[in-house]
Subunit: 259 residues, 2 copies
DNA sequence: GCTGGGAGAGGCTTA
DNA sequence: TAAGCCTTTCCCAGC
């Protein structure tokens, strides 16, 4: 496809706010929070109405260069010193932090360039997030330990946010950290931070329980050394809901929906 | 475009290992580590040769549903009870962990469906990563403090990996943690973990220095309470290299390349 | 192969 | 707005 023709199509797509895809041989340059260069190769460029700008290589899941919503996108023709011309598509963005970012894609040739007016107002419904598991646990903390009563969910302390704060049979505070997947060192650090902060503030012993499907051995060692506890969180992911195994009370259907 | 025609094109693309893009009205269902549903709307599906499978909505940077390299992709026609037919594109993958994942995209209509044989063997060259900044600092630790001598870079201890291990004028061990962006509570936790682990092992006082462009206030408070230190890391990102401001020794050009 | 930890991480929620 | 922190995070490097 002729570069000029591709430019015309892109200009039209940008003007009309369409979703556009450009396929061709290009070089890519990025400057912003970091900097990068990518020399010549065939790539697929995705441009969305909201300013999203994605450069995809033929392999790998993540876009190799990207600009999020809010970028301003422009197209221009460029003629190099050797007389070769190129279609240049670029995305600029100024972040609130003051950082300016730019991606410049120089197409030497274009295999395809198309755009569409797409309509989509639906949102993804996700099941099995950490927040959902936390909500389910809140319904009956007896699963973790008989007599455990919930005090607060998502309570903010100076050093972060406690997933669930509870009280045990002896009236001790229990900090519960929920992880939807295997817990590592970072999770133990996090819990440890909350427990010591709370213990200092309340001037009494505070328990800490890490709820996760499993833990790495090193994390488990650190957990025990810090006097914290582990509770195996056994759950099943369904569609359209997640369930914790062993919960005695009838679980509310979270995230149920009609379609 | 006819659904059957789209299916034929997809089959051909899959067979020949091409990069394919499908645009149309669809529903999406995901089951795996979590589960999700997305009801009817116009979306763009990206299929790569390596099994990468991305569903993009009209807004937002991230793919709303995805499967990484290694997925097996298939296309089929389906006829619903009401007689409406659909083009079903799906991606399956079994992770090493044993988790099976699937994405099923049901297209009720297709606006465009195309594929290309793309060639690209180049890799992104990135400047200003944390590892690069660490490399630069290693060249002259005097910037942080006169008399500081490097002992080791990237040394693994039981509880993680220390960026830079050094020795100060008085012969004390100094753990240096480098962050390319603002450091938060997690960074302080990390450094704190390394320092206490090393102090316990060596049975002597160990210093900890957090090198970052800046810190959040809460993180700074925690740093001071833990007896750790902060060094403001002032750097500039260029293309094709990153430089730390104030480094006295001539900085090696890191990441320079010819193109 | 497990584990830890970075990433131009992005994005959401709450103080 | 800033800060914490979750993510189907992905990804790589080291042991």
């Amino acid at each position: 496809m002729e570069l000029v023709e591709a430019k015309r199509k892109i200009d039209e797509a940008l003007e009309r706010g369409r979703f556009a895809v450009v396929v061709g041989n290009c070089r890519v340059k990025y400057e912003g929070r970091a900097a990068s260069k990518l020399s010549e190769g065939d790539r697929v460029l995705v441009i969305k109405n909201d300013g999203t700008f994605l450069v995809h290589q033929t392999q790998g899941m993540a876009a190799i260069n990207y600009q999020g919503p809010g970028a301003s996108i422009s197209a221009s023709m460029e003629t190099a010193a050797d007389g070769d011309s190129a279609l240049v598509l670029s995305a600029f963005r100024s972040k609130k932090s003051g950082v300016k970012e730019s991606i410049v894609v120089r197409f030497a040739s274009v295999q395809a360039c198309e755009s569409w007016a797409l309509k989509d107002d639906r949102k993804l419904q996700l099941f099995g997030s950490e927040r959902q598991l936390s909500d389910l646990l809140m319904q009956d903390l007896n699963l973790i330990e008989p007599g455990l009563r919930p005090l607060q969910q998502e309570s903010a302390i100076r050093k972060g946010t406690i997933d669930i704060l509870a009280e045990d049979r002896e009236g001790r505070l229990v900090v519960i950290e929920v992880k939807r997947r295997e817990a590592g060192l970072d999770a133990v650090s996090q819990l440890s931070r909350y427990v010591s902060e709370l213990a200092k503030r309340k001037e009494k012993k505070v328990r800490g329980v890490l709820c996760a499907p499993r833990m790495t051995p090193t994390a488990h060692a650190m957990l025990e050394r810090d006097g914290l506890e582990f509770f195996k969180l056994d759950y099943v992911i369904g569609n359209p809901s997640a369930k914790i195994r062993g919960l005695q009370k009838k679980q509310q259907t979270i995230g149920a929906f009609s379609d």
